[in-house]
Subunit: 324 residues, 2 copies
């Protein structure tokens, strides 16, 4: 069975039904046990992955390598138009699912890599988004990273992923709506104003660089959650100028180092919310990066309500991160 | 710091900031290690919990015991009115958080208890919801259960929880809206029609009892997700007649036994979506119970999008559950 996107009758949530994902090898398990495998991401084992979509630089001696996910959640085939009725809608799972191998070094964290390597990696993220946007069938490109079994990583060698979707996903759509409503009311960008305010207030500020600020969100969903905002208003991460990209590498690496010191190298995810591929440039949207440390577990309450329970106030988290 | 309900500027999601939760003892950890503790839920250790709100029957020899959560996410104190501005809204975390000790026996699962004990437990759920509704300050009462560390349980002795909230949570609000829209279009209940259709179709049907049916949802978010629907239209679980309650105990216990056989006793949550305490009786709402097995891990993609990736098609899951 090829992957499908499905929407049920009771909620507006979509699920990807992707049987091929079940076959992926698991090196690190959430219960802590690790199964030794030959790392498919280390140099010399390139034959264990599908052929590279791009290498930087091309060929042997690569520093970052992009491959199709061998166990994809979505595929660039089929018809993305949903069909069905009020009791369920489905479409072919049309999209892309790529793995970005962050480094030839078998490191477990970005913080084990020099800032220059992180800069190269971020520029590869931008490359992939620009490339996927050109495909024309895709509505949204998401870059994310899973570190540690509790954050959904199945392999230890530091890597990132890109999933491109045929529709704008719910959480991004909600942010677009909220940002547009604020822009209509004030003629200004919500995130620009938020950044100003949080930097002046200071209680939730983690760090500042020339072009970026990192803060713990007022309604943090989990301990040590961080939001990285560019100071310069821009809807698209993938159009980041070179000097800002180098500065971002430093700011992101510093924020992750602080997290690892404050919370004893926790499992975490990060993700980039950039503007959708499709539609006009949304002038009210401001791209950002979210870091989600996974020290707490979602329980029945969160699944039932959409409300999260966070035992660490973000003001305390920011103080700990500033000092870490 | 007392618990707070907070809403940030970018999304409409609420978070509960509850520092007291950080102090709770953890018997079972997600990484698989267990810390032996004297079980506070076993008979003879009643002094280790706050005094009981109710015991069934009252006093020694109880079969089900209800206590305030010692590490509550919300408290019945303060002002539930939100205040703030576009960059963040907060209110006191006014609500209730109770623990229901399912049985005097130190069992790990409901399936280790006889059906009659499960029936008593379900009637206690209904009692607590009716009692919390009478408080008048609360908008919603949620009954849920966490089993296993991966599902957020910190203690092994089988127990359930009730959290009552000062506002109707997002996921329930969405279901109310969807059900009302369907009712306006067709003059019928969405869940009644869904049940008819799924029973006739049969591909996602797990089991049927006199008053209930259990199915795997068309857009299942995870392997072996189950939806239990009452055949008789009713908005409120807590008004379940006695004969239906006994039948529900049997149906729920059977469904959980099938899950434990098919998926090797996984961690799971279940939760009951009943109508809100406040407002008129929503004639279009149909209460239901969801079972959420936790064999997969949320990763960066799910946190970024609100879209889940499920490697097991619900039609295959239902076939496995039927045969288990």
């Amino acid at each position: 069975m090829n992957p499908e996107l499905r929407q049920g009758p009771l909620t507006e949530q979509w699920a990807i039904i992707a049987p091929e994902r079940a076959a992926r090898p698991i090196e690190v398990h959430p219960d802590g046990h690790a199964v030794p495998i030959v790392c498919p991401f280390c140099p010399g084992h390139e034959a264990q992955t599908p052929p590279a979509l791009r290498s930087y630089p091309d060929g042997p001696g690569w520093r970052v390598r992009v491959v199709p996910n061998k166990y994809p959640a979505l595929r660039l085939a089929g018809n993305p138009a949903p069909h069905g009725d009020e009791f369920g809608t489905r479409s072919d799972g049309v999209g892309a699912h790529e793995v970005i191998i962050d480094s030839p070094v078998h490191a477990h964290s970005l913080t084990d890599l020099p800032a220059e390597q992180v800069r190269l990696l971020l520029s590869v993220y931008a490359d992939r988004l620009r490339e996927l946007r050109r495909d024309g069938r895709l509505a949204y490109g998401l870059v994310f990273k899973n570190v540690g079994a509790a954050a959904g990583a199945s392999l230890e060698h530091t890597h990132s992923q890109v999933i491109a979707l045929p529709r704008v996903p719910a959480f991004v759509r909600q942010e677009l709506i909220t940002a547009r409503a604020y822009h209509r009311r004030h003629g200004r960008c919500l995130c620009c104003d938020l950044l100003d305010r949080e930097v002046r207030d200071g209680r939730r500020l983690v760090l500042e660089s020339r072009h970026f600020a990192v803060l713990t969100p007022f309604a943090s969903r989990m301990p040590y959650e961080m939001l990285l905002l560019p100071r310069r208003h821009a809807a698209r991460f993938e159009e980041l100028p070179e000097d800002e990209c180098a500065d971002l590498a430093g700011a992101l690496r510093s924020a992750l180092l602080k997290l690892e010191r404050a919370a004893d190298r926790p499992a975490y995810n990060y993700l980039i919310h950039t503007a959708p591929f499709t539609g006009p440039e949304p002038e009210s949207f401001h791209w950002h990066l979210e870091v989600l440390p996974r020290t707490t577990t979602l329980a029945g309450f969160e699944w039932a309500t959409g409300v999260t329970i966070n035992p660490l106030p973000p003001e305390q988290a920011a103080a700990q991160l500033r000092e870490a």
